[in-house]
Amino acid sequence: MRFMYIVSHPGPSTQPPPEMMEAMHKLSDREIKAGRMIDSGGLMPVETGARVRIADGKLSVIDGPFVEAKEVVGGYAIFELRDKDEALAMAKEFMQMHLDFMPGWEGTCELRSVRRRCAKCGRWP
């Protein structure tokens, strides 16, 4: 099963301490070598982005930063794992690292399984 992890936190982003970067690097290195992590990326600050939104039947473009935003997405990763149990174990390990190396940091790691046609029967779930 393919899972997408989206990490968000109340903005703005802060630079993680070197110990955190090192631990994160180690974990992702392990996961790439284990063939589980197949893609990932940290996101640049919201100032570099924009939102294209539809509301009241109208399309509008809002350049970052977004004043009204409560949460900022900081990064994503795509993993291939056997099941949701494995996916949860990964997310817990990842978040535990934040707890250890970034005291006071708060945020969410959301994991969602990517919708794919069943390889066995060809049906969409």
Binding site: L27, K33, G35, R36, E80, D85, Q96, A119, K120, G122
Partner: protein, 434 residues
């Protein structure tokens, strides 16, 4: 604070009871993630891969026994590592190692543990070398291909004996016995702990790649039984392929095999229709091909060629599949290039299967007549041969002969779905021959 505490709060928000089965599943999931690191660390201590595997299993049992009561530790990986290492130390002590060398190892390790009871220690280990040793031990050419596959799934992917048995449609006892016997063979031959290097590594790698590809194909083609695909085996083989490219990064064939598997797997969702019927490559909806996987496959293929492996057995096959992956529509397929690649492949490995595939490519590049000439030179009769013949005859308008070929193919096919498909094609040809 333990994770279990937070799970309690979660439970309060969501009225779903966490059952014992849930906890077991969580434990197994954690264990599976940690297993290669556990086995490799223990193997280094014990100088014995099969024994390391056994003691790693004991650590899992200990977790299943303790965690439901204590809650899942904050760092479950570290807990498993500490427990497994303790088992290994016990073992070393119990066996009061005959050789002084071993006593020294035990003492060193004990001191190391007392000096820094650092539960994170495992995370810092560079396990590349040990993992290589683990894979090469599981896939030792002394063992038969089937045994190598079972051992690899067990020791590298953490599949249970039952799961392996189901995947290979074998009784659990049979697989269990095979694994036990294989481990004994390795221990008795003194092959329980060795790492091939240099030229020896390249030579031995072939036996590893063969096993990984066997597992992939077992999942991808499901030659027996009702299932067209057994996705789990593909998934495990892909994972092993990725592991191999990271621990043997200079071996072009490792990258070639990974490319071949990624590119083939990229079509998984497009290979069957909603009723589970197979869809042939050229008729597949290419929009369903997995672009992320194709990208990864192309990267691996590029790397293999950079390493000078363009004429390798797996690299050539990957290059062929890449021609399909890169064609946006079926009509864009570069059949000239594909038939050229098959030509090169027959130089590396002569086999009727490759020759048959070459015929298909030649048929697309030059027409069915040229292809039929190749096919008619082949004698070995397995279901794909009459199936391809039938297709070529059909294209040439020789419908009665096509029908006979499809019927012969259906009689030889081992998979019900494939059989049904071939019978349908026979019926189509029959209708046209009237």
């Amino acid at each position: 604070m333990r994770i279990a505490v937070r799970e309690t709060t979660l439970r309060q928000m969501r009225p779903v009871a966490v059952t014992a089965a849930d906890i077991d599943r969580t434990i197994v999931a954690v264990w599976r993630i940690e297993q290669p690191r556990l086995i490799t660390s223990l193997a280094r201590m014990l100088r014995d891969v099969p024994l390391a595997e056994e003691l790693t299993q004991e650590a899992l049992l200990a977790a299943i026994e303790h965690w439901p009561a204590t809650g899942i530790p904050e760092k479950p990986g570290a807990w498993l590592m500490a427990t497994a290492k303790r088992r290994a130390l016990d073992h070393l002590r119990r066996h009061r190692m005959v050789a002084r060398k071993h006593e020294m190892i035990a003492r060193d390790l004990e001191q190391e543990q007392q000096a820094m009871p650092d539960l994170d220690a495992g995370l810092d280990d560079d396990i590349g070398d040990e993992l290589l040793r683990l894979i090469f031990t599981a896939c030792h050419p002394l063992l038969s291909r089937e045994v190598r596959a079972a051992l690899a799934l067990r020791m590298i992917c953490g599949l249970t004996t039952g799961e392996i048995a189901r995947a290979f449609l074998q009784p659990e006892a049979t697989i269990g016995q095979r694994i036990v016997r294989a481990k004994r063979t390795l221990s008795e031959s003194g092959l329980a702990y060795e790492t091939p290097r240099g030229e020896e590594l390249s030579k031995r790698l072939a036996s590893v790649l063969e096993v990984v590809y066997l597992i992939f194909n077992e999942g991808y083609t499901a030659s027996r039984g009702e299932d067209w695909l057994r996705p789990q085996l593909c998934h495990e083989a892909l994972r092993m392929g990725r592991v191999l490219t990271s621990i043997a990064p200079h071996e072009p064939e490792a990258h070639g095999l990974l490319a071949l598997m990624e590119l083939n797997a990229s079509r998984a969702a497009a290979r069957t229709d909603a009723a589970g019927e197979p869809i042939l490559l050229l008729e597949q909806n290419r929009g369903l091909w997995d672009q992320l996987q194709i990208r990864r496959g192309m990267q691996a293929l590029g790397r293999a060629c950079e390493l000078g492996g363009a004429n390798g057995f797996y690299v050539l096959q990957a290059a062929i599949v890449a021609c399909h992956a890169q064609a946006e529509i079926a009509d864009d397929t570069d059949w000239q290039r594909i038939s050229g690649l098959y030509e090169r492949l027959t130089v590396v490995a002569r086999s009727p299967v490759i020759e048959l595939n070459r015929a298909v490519a030649v048929g697309m590049a030059e027409g069915p007549e040229a292809a039929l000439a190749i096919v008619d030179r082949l004698t070995q009769n397995y279901h794909l041969l009459p199936s391809v013949r039938g297709d070529l005859l059909h294209k040439l308008g020789r419908y009665a002969e096509a029908r006979a070929a499809f019927e012969a193919a259906a009689a030889l096919a081992g998979n019900q779905r494939e059989r049904d498909f071939l019978k349908r094609r026979a019926a189509e040809a029959a209708a046209l021959s009237l």
